[in-house]
């Protein structure tokens, strides 16, 4: 095994990077891959709660870097998937406790017996972002179909090109097919046309994502969730499979009409 290191980044905060990392890592592990995710958001750790592992943390990334523990000791095993691990961020330190070369070293140590290392980048384009992309073999940029998120994604794509880490692949997260249909939300085609990079997945807005993070159980585990399906498809594409894009046309029909009538939509 020689792991592929994939960094998930976005520029803007709150577009769903951590959700994407938790879901993609879980989906890859469900496919039988050995996966380690690293929370790169030093001081604002969150991947642990989204994955439901917050009570199991003993050591963190900075403990590894500063030699207080072995790499294996900081790897927290998932509750359900034996080949899924998390290396949590330090909560009481800042991003300067980690350097790009530390990240390269840790990822290289993980490579021999791992299939995928997934790095969750902090928002922004400063030190934490540089750390997160340092070891990346490929980068996924997450955006929402919204002006501020697309603008920041474009900046990040430019910086990745300058760092010769590009071209990244794009995840369009939280697309609302009804708004797109009414031409009140940028469509996936609009966003792709603006950013000019390759698309790897479109994740529809789905309340199951919030329910999943409330429970600490990523949505990919829910067979019925549309967002879960979208993330499972992206995980397949990361493994080199060709998977057709989901049909995201608004669901019409009687049930939808009843829900609208009942004020649920």
């Amino acid at each position: 095994m020689t792991a592929k290191v994939i960094t998930v980044t976005s520029g803007k905060g709150g577009v769903g990077k951590t959700t994407a990392v938790a879901n993609l890592a879980t989906a890859l592990a469900m496919d039988g891959k050995r996966v380690v995710c690293i929370d790169g958001d030093i001081g604002l750790r969150n991947l642990d709660v989204v994955m439901g592992l917050e009570n199991r943390i003993v050591y963190d990334l900075v403990d590894v870097i500063e030699g207080r523990c072995k790499l294996k000791q900081a790897m927290i095993r998932d509750k359900h998937l034996p080949d899924l691990y998390l290396i949590p961020a330090a909560q009481t330190r800042d991003k300067n406790a980690v350097s790009p070369s530390d990240m390269v070293r840790i990822c290289n140590d993980l490579r021999p017996d791992t299939d995928f290392v997934i790095v969750d980048s902090p928002a922004g384009i400063e030190r934490g972002f540089r750390n997160a992309i340092a070891a990346a073999d490929s980068v996924l940029v997450v955006t929402n179909p919204e002006v501020s998120a697309v603008r920041d994604a474009d900046r990040v794509v430019g910086l990745l090109e300058a760092e010769e880490k590009g071209p990244p692949s794009l995840i369009i997260n939280r697309l609302n097919p009804n708004l797109v249909k009414n031409n009140d939300m940028l469509s996936a085609e609009d966003v792709l046309d603006l950013l000019g990079i390759r698309l790897i997945g479109i994740v529809p807005e789905d309340e199951n994502v919030i329910i999943g993070s409330n429970r600490g159980a990523p949505t990919v585990g829910d067979a019925k969730s549309r967002a879960g399906q979208a993330f499972r498809n992206i995980a397949k594409r990361l493994q080199g499979e060709e998977v057709p894009f989901m049909d995201l046309a608004p669901q019409s029909g009687l049930w939808n009409a009843i829900q609208r009538f009942a004020g649920r939509k």
Partner: protein, 83 residues
């Protein structure tokens, strides 16, 4: 604006982003682009007469490539009579 004439918001989002991204990528403000146009026109006018009203100079985007596109019509001038 009436209900029927209202431009849907996704259209303005796309148009606004197209402009913003071009300026972000080139690190050129709209003001600087105007200065560039003026300088360009001044330089060209030293050699040939142009019609400033019909000039069109814009930054355009093609995938992730940027280009400055100029369409500068020359003023129609009667030919000098020989002799």
């Amino acid at each position: 604006m009436g209900f029927f004439s209202r431009k849907r918001s996704a259209t303005s989002a796309k148009e606004r982003l197209q402009l913003v991204l071009v300026h972000d990528r080139t690190d050129l403000t709209p003001g600087q682009l105007d200065e560039l146009k003026d300088d360009l026109l001044k330089a060209i006018s030293k050699y040939i007469e142009i019609d400033p009203e019909a000039v069109r100079i814009e930054l355009e985007k093609d995938g992730r490539e940027q280009r400055l596109v100029a369409d500068i019509p020359l003023k129609h001038m009667p030919r000098h009579r020989a002799g």
